[in-house]
Amino acid sequence: MIDILQTYWLDLLIGGYPNGPLGGLAMTMIIAVTSIVLAFPLGVLLALANLSERRWMSRSSGAVITFVRGVPLLMFIFWIYFALPVVTGLSVSGSVTLIVALVIFESAYISQIVKAGILALPRGQREAAESLSMTPFQVNMKIILPQAIFNMTPSLISQLSSAVKDTSLGYIINATEITFATAQINSILLTKPLEIFGVLAIVFFVICASLTGLANILERRLGRSQSIALANVR
């Protein structure tokens, strides 16, 4: 296993770059982080629509969320992989396809995190802002979301960990992430699949366990600061 790492560490880290496209672990992280960053505003919009008092808005966003959560990510990857070139007339790389699929998929899950973050705030916060005559937009942007985002940071980090693992599905459509790089190394070595995919498993485990650990630490700190704040701010 060590000899594989010694020989192929650069391929695992950045793929064929600079002689080919960027790949490996660097691409995995770029895809995961970009997906979460782009999915976040969509998730916020879905959550706000879902919590809206306008029934058509909450129902239609609820339907979207339920649909996306009820379909496997792989289906989205296939749909986008085959449909996007037809709709846009552009040839889209596997990595971009994967990012689009992840953005749609993750936005539904992030919307639930945002919704829980908003619902966890005391009702009095919204009422206090409304009684100052703030518009619903101001209430959400200045009062509710800044507090809710603070509360939901650990969950968002967990979601990033989940997105990192989900990038491995990009292998199916030739997205040049770390699973793709690993499969290429395997096709060169041929006789060491256990070792080479063992390396892949360890890389995923180290990244995701670190992110989960970070989320846990933040959650504990948040819990402490919230209990202090709740004792003082009633």
């Binding site: 206090a128 409304e130 009684s131 101001q138 507090q147 003082n232 009633r234």
Partner: protein, 238 residues
């Protein structure tokens, strides 16, 4: 200034307000008292439509609160202080006061800072402006909440049990702040169980029981009634 006409309110099957009629005149201080669950808080929450009503009408400056289109325009003339303070925990005391001035009154930052600072100083919080709410005592937090509401220059102030969540030693600092406003001629509706405060500050007392406004009398008459009654109005009704 504020008029309730046959106001009814239900929470599910529970009849919270039963045909409440009453008027608060400009510059008047009305204290609402009565047993817990009698509808006092619900009644003042109908004034700025934090609660809707099921029948009747509420008027503020002859505007029907229920049918007014721009609720924010109406609310900008009404200050509300909550039992639970309602300070924004991610902002300092100064920012809590400034936020309404900036976003609603559209004041430039320097002017908003000046108005907010002056208001906090007037309420004895000059050295607390940079602190987060969590670093303030309950009494200080409630005074910041009062400063926040008053800085918007409302025509009416509504207080919903402003001292109920406070330790006894902090009650007076908040009551004194409300008394200052009353002395300045502000129209006030205040839900409270502090009868000493009511006697000192109120022009009229509204006594509610089980959703009905059973007494709407001037303060002297209320306490005279209370003294004459063998068991007292409050105890008898509670």
């Amino acid at each position: 200034m504020i008029r309730f006409e046959a106001v009814d309110k239900y929470f599910g099957d529970r009849h919270i307000l039963k045909s409440v009629d009453g008027t608060v005149r400009k510059g008047e201080v009305v204290v609402l008292c009565g047993p817990s669950g009698s509808g006092k808080s619900t009644l003042i929450r109908t004034v700025n439509r934090l609660e809707g009503i099921d029948a009747g009408k509420v008027f503020v400056d002859e505007k029907d609160v229920g049918s007014v289109r721009d609720i924010n325009a109406l609310r900008s003339g009404i200050g509300f202080v909550f039992q639970s303070f309602g300070l924004f925990p991610h902002m300092t005391a100064l920012e809590n006061v400034m936020v309404g001035l900036r976003l609603v009154r559209r004041m430039p930052p320097a002017e908003a800072r000046e108005v907010a600072s002056a208001q906090l100083k007037a309420l004895g919080l000059a050295d607390k402006m940079a602190l987060m709410p969590a670093a303030l005592s309950g009494g200080q937090q409630q005074r910041v909440a009062i400063a926040r509401a008053v800085s918007m220059r409302p025509a009416v102030m509504l207080f919903d049990e402003p001292t109920s969540a406070l330790d006894p030693e902090m009650v007076n600092e908040v009551l004194n702040a409300i008394e200052q406003l009353a002395d300045q001629g502000m129209t006030i509706m205040c839900v409270t169980h502090e009868m000493g405060f009511a006697r000192r500050v109120a022009d009229r007392i509204w006594y509610l029981r089980a959703g009905e406004l059973v007494h709407d009398v001037d303060t002297e008459s209320f306490f005279a009634m209370q003294a004459e009654s063998t068991s007292g109005v409050i105890q008898q009704s509670a």
